[in-house]
Symmetry: C2
Subunit: 214 residues, 2 copies
């Protein structure tokens, strides 16, 4: 049964991004520190087209972000820094010609735009009629594989609040950001039926996998 | 060099206590779930005067709460459910005749009260002139040992905001409470200079130890 799921890194004080996100600091100030554990892995090196990187637990969990994923959903702010209409229409994501998704990516936006077919199987589709529509299209595209809600924070919160997430993994990094975007602000999942399947850690991070029976 | 420190269990969504704390549920609704990892340890069994309990990592971290502690500070609400003045003056804590502290405990309150000497080396002192005074008295009493800020949430927040904490350990339990008291609400420790010394986990919980150089 295909799952709708997300995976996010957060600080020990609960932030998934630092403050003051910008073109130069898309993860916000100090936001990169949340992902140091992932940057060190072979999975990340391969995404960057490089050799090397650590194997082991963190690599195994890092690889999970796109494992068995047949379609992806993301918010407009994760897709790029362009606000309002699409301007000259040249922005095609942060990820270069061959984005790491390798599946159809549904971008939530208020501004229509034609699909953009990238290399390697990633096509960006722009969805203007809300998260339920995006999910229906993503499920169709994914077939018997999972749908990943990639982010950012407010998109994941919308899916959690709507009760649409089956499974998620939290990578709690050993850093304190103090401020930024907090995943569990204005999202109460206390009664949503999630159980932790597993908590495991490396010296760099602890991974919590939550799921619920449908 | 003696440290001022605390240790707290929190949920993966950041809560150190559930909502609706009362005499029957002093940890708030579902608050006990944050401490299941600790209840399973030999350290906790011994505190309850029982045999048994698990040894290993969690027990080692559970025992740390009072290791090398020479004095303790707690908020009035942690000491008990009595509000306002001390009424008939019979409340002497949740912990029976022989509380687990075995050192002087300074209780923050607006209402003066004579010290209460319990068995086993615990004496409750009531401090009416604020956290700095309580800390000075606790340091005096502790000598070359550490001062533990035991809780609750708002007391720990006051000490964090005042920059008085040298070291702390977070036990992040694999549960989602959804609501309750959140440690890092209205407390920004992003620039306070804490570094994570170590993250370790068992199948029941992950432990994060933070400290800063003085």
């Amino acid at each position: 049964m295909p799952q709708v799921r997300f995976t996010l890194s957060l600080s020990a004080d609960g932030f998934v991004a630092g403050p003051n996100q910008s073109l130069d600091t898309p993860l916000g100030e100090r936001g990169r520190e949340l992902h140091e554990w992932a940057f060190a892995t072979r999975t990340f090196s391969q995404m960057q087209g490089r050799e090397g990187g650590d194997t082991g637990l963190d690599d195994e969990r890092a690889a999970n972000w796109n494992r068995n994923v047949g379609a992806t959903i993301m918010g407009r702010n994760m897709f790029g820094p362009v606000r309002g209409d699409w301007g000259d229409g040249t922005w095609d994501g942060w990820w270069g010609d061959d984005p790491p998704y390798h599946n159809p990516v549904f971008v939530l936006t208020h501004h229509p735009r034609e699909p953009i077919e990238m290399q390697g199987g990633t096509t960006f589709h722009f969805v203007t009629d809300g998260i339920e529509s995006a999910l229906a299209q993503a499920r169709d595209a994914a077939g018997d594989r999972d749908v990943a809600v990639a982010g950012g924070c407010s998109t994941v919160q919308q899916f959690l609040r709507a009760g649409l997430i089956d499974e998620f993994e939290l990578h709690v990094a050993p850093v304190l950001l103090g401020r930024g975007e907090r995943l569990f602000d204005s999202v109460d999942v206390g009664d949503a039926g999630y159980r932790c399947e597993r908590v495991v850690s490396s010296p760099a991070v602890a991974h919590y996998l939550f799921s619920r029976s449908a």
